[in-house]
């Protein structure tokens, strides 16, 4: 899988900020984020007309959003291209289909969480604790990157998470 992800390797020097995750780690996370879109079913009307892109919003450092954009460039899910946008406000967040929240921005997420609760946005966070308030949170299991799913939050957002994905989850959470 690592080798597969190497194919998507970003330009060298893109990672400069020491607070940001390493390039390899971020690449794997980017691939996961992209792959999540394949196992989630949005409610009718949430994706717009066919051919309209799936928008991934990034709440965090701009370079991360740029790197993710490189990873998903030229790929599509069920005929829809992937678009990556940086997000700052709740309104901006509601306009996305998937909102990725970096570890540093989790506090901002907590502030706008109330406004997002009913919106069909799959929320993905960088830390294991994120799955308490978001739908999916990454978990580091030794060498391996894994994730936890909070099905109740996904349901509240009118999202169906595929059983395959649930099967791969390190843990399934319910209401906090």
């Amino acid at each position: 899988m690592l080798a597969a992800l190497c194919m998507l390797a970003p330009l060298p020097g893109a990672v400069a900020d020491p607070r940001l995750p390493s390039a390899d780690e971020w690449q794997i996370k980017s691939a996961f984020i992209y792959n999540f879109t394949k196992f989630v079913e949005w409610p009718e009307g949430a994706l717009g007309a066919s051919g309209q892109p799936i928008v991934i919003g990034v709440l965090g450092e701009k370079p991360l959003a740029q790197q993710l954009a490189v990873v998903v460039a030229g790929r599509n899910v069920n005929g829809r291209p992937i678009e990556v946008k940086p997000v700052r406000t709740a309104a901006e967040a509601r306009a996305t289909q998937l909102l990725f929240v970096t570890a540093a921005e989790e506090s901002r997420y907590a502030a706008m969480r109330g406004e997002l609760a009913d919106s069909p946005v799959l929320t993905v966070g960088e830390t294991p604790s994120f799955s308490v308030t978001g739908a999916i949170g990454f978990v580091q299991d030794g060498e391996k990157l894994r994730f936890e799913i909070n099905t109740d939050i996904a349901e509240r957002a009118h999202l169906k998470i595929s059983s395959q994905l649930q099967k791969l989850a390190a843990a399934i959470r319910r209401e906090p």
């Binding site: 899988m1 690592l2 080798a3 597969a4 194919m7 996961f32 792959n35 879109t37 394949k38 196992f39 790929r75 599509n76 899910v77 069920n78 005929g79 391996k144 595929s162 395959q164 994905l165 099967k167 791969l168």
Partner: protein, 540 residues
């Protein structure tokens, strides 16, 4: 095994039915098994493709999130399918991601390098690659290998069922054929049987029984009508034959009548021949007889008896002085001399006459014999007596003596002593007289002055050979073969009977008469051979 063409029709029909139905069944079974195999293979491929698709669908997440354990778990679910030997999962770049080995796999399963979507039957396995997508994107490849044990066991089961069906169908077909072929074979067998009976008994009144109105019926009808025709022709032939016999009998009757007429005619002709014979032989003897009679008449005409009468008159004139006259008278002295001369003369005359008269009597006896012989002509065997050939020849000469003498024919005798023969005197005599007369005639015809007939008597092998050879006119070669034929003659006044009769008689006596001549003017020799009777020799 008898070739099919020599077997009876019954066997042929059964064999044809069995072969046909057997081949048809075999073909049907083969088609059935072949079709089943094809269907089963297609089914297997479909099933395996479906399985591969399910595995692919369920492995998408594992591949996407790099979780080989989950993928292996998914693959392990294949263990419910016993025939799957092994399976493998490759990522979208063709790298091996997870492997599954079936529990029953006899050999270790080694996943092959990834290939394009498709399947192939290979090494008694079905190998299938399935590429799958996830959310419209290529996600990876599933490889499944299935063994064909089930296909094989199913095919062998089908083959077994097919053979069973074949055997049962064949048995049923045999029973049916045995029953149904009678419709054809029975009339033919019947026809063949009737034909054999007709042949064996030569009885054309037999008829075959018609079974139906098909070609066989027509055949039997034709056979029967042929028999009818043969029978009709047979009876026509029989009638013709009977008729023919009648006509033959008629013809035979006619022939018999003709034959008896011919026999009568020939008998009359035979009588004429006999008459000719008699007249001829009698004529010969009459010639000699005539000569003898003439000589006696001449002799008596010249008799000196008148001289005696004159002497008696002279003596009567001198009746009284008879002694004186005889002693003294000059004329009277000659009386005694004359008387003695006269008596001598008369004695001589008497002797001559006596001889001629004896010959005359012999000839008359001969005529008598000829006549009596011809009277008993049918009696082949005449009186046989012991005869001396030389005496017979002399007798014959004597009978012709006058003629031979008159024509100045010299007779030469070359006689050897021969034994007597036991035969019929007059028959031989007739032959010899004839031969002598012919010889004399032949001599007279020629102009030569030294007419000569040579008579020879000699003994041959068991026979006596009497030959009469003349130096007369001879016989032309072309006449040599005809000389003994009845009616052939070279003489102006001849009958053509003498030699014919002579040859017949010689044969009758067990001998032969042959002729030899060197040609015209060189004389001819007739040879009469007569058998020596051995008994007669012993008696002599």
């Amino acid at each position: 095994m008898t070739p099919l063409r020599n077997r009876p029709i019954k066997g042929k029909l059964t064999a044809i039915t069995m072969i046909t139905s057997g081949v048809a069944l075999l073909l049907a079974c083969a088609a059935f098994v072949g079709y089943e195999s094809m269907v089963f293979r297609t089914g297997m491929v479909d099933e395996l493709a479906t399985t591969a698709a399910i595995v692919g669908d369920n492995s998408g997440a594992a591949l996407a999130f790099d979780d080989p354990d989950s993928a292996r778990q998914t693959l392990r679910s294949l263990n419910v399918l016993q025939h799957i030997v092994g399976a493998a999962l490759y990522d979208r770049n063709g790298k091996l991601f997870a492997t599954y080995r079936g529990a029953t796999a006899e050999a270790a399963f080694v996943p092959p390098p990834v290939q394009a979507q498709g399947y192939r039957f290979e090494d008694n396995r079905l190998k299938l690659f399935h590429r799958f997508e996830l959310a419209g994107e290529e996600a990876g490849t599933v490889y499944i290998e299935s063994d064909l044990g089930e296909l094989r066991s199913r095919m062998s089961r089908y083959a077994l069922i097919g053979l069973g069906v074949l055997a049962v169908s064949w048995a049923v077909a045999f029973l049916l054929a045995a029953r149904l072929q009678r419709a054809i074979s029975a009339p033919i067998s019947h026809l063949a049987l009737v034909m054999k009976q007709v042949q064996a008994r030569n009885d054309y009144s037999l008829r075959a029984i018609k079974h139906g109105d098909d070609e066989l019926g027509a055949l039997i009808e034709g056979f029967n009508s042929m028999l009818d025709q043969i029978r009709a022709q047979d009876s026509a032939l029989q009638e013709a034959r009977d008729h023919l016999e009648l006509r033959v009998a008629e013809r035979t009757g006619e022939l018999e009548r003709t034959h008896s007429q011919l026999v009568d005619a020939s008998r009359q002709a035979g009588m004429a021949e006999v008459a000719t014979n008699v007249l001829h032989n009698v004529g010969n003897v009459l010639n000699s007889l005539n000569v003898s009679a003439n000589m006696v008449v001449e002799q008596i005409g010249r008799s000196r008896a008148t001289g005696l009468a004159r002497l008696v008159t002279l003596l009567r004139e001198h009746e009284h002085e008879l002694g004186e006259y005889v002693v003294h008278d000059p004329r009277g002295r000659h009386v005694l001399t004359y008387l003695s001369q006269l008596s001598e003369h008369i004695l001589h005359e008497r002797d001559l006459n006596l001889r001629e008269l004896t010959s005359l009597r012999g000839n008359i006896d001969h005529i008598k014999e000829i006549v009596s012989m011809q009277q008993s002509y049918s009696k082949v065997s005449g009186v046989k007596e012991l005869l001396q050939p030389i005496d017979l020849l002399e007798d014959a000469l004597r009978m012709n003596e006058g003629a031979l003498y008159r024509h100045e024919v010299r007779i030469v005798r070359e006689f050897e002593p021969v034994p007597g023969i036991n035969s019929e005197k007059h028959k031989i005599l007739q032959i010899l007289v004839n031969l002598l007369r012919n010889a004399k005639y032949a001599c007279c015809e020629s102009d030569r002055p030294d007419r000569c007939v040579t008579l020879r008597v000699a003994s041959g092998p068991a026979c006596v050979r009497i030959s009469v050879a003349d130096n007369g006119v001879g016989i032309a070669p072309e006449n040599m073969t005809r000389i003994f034929a009845h009616g052939f003659t070279t003489r102006r006044d001849g009958h053509g009977f003498g030699l014919h009769s002579g040859a017949l008689t010689a044969r009758e006596l067990g001998g032969s008469l042959q002729v030899f001549s060197d040609g015209p003017g060189r004389g001819a020799t007739f040879v009469l051979e007569l058998p020596i009777d051995q008994l007669a020799i012993a008696a002599a």
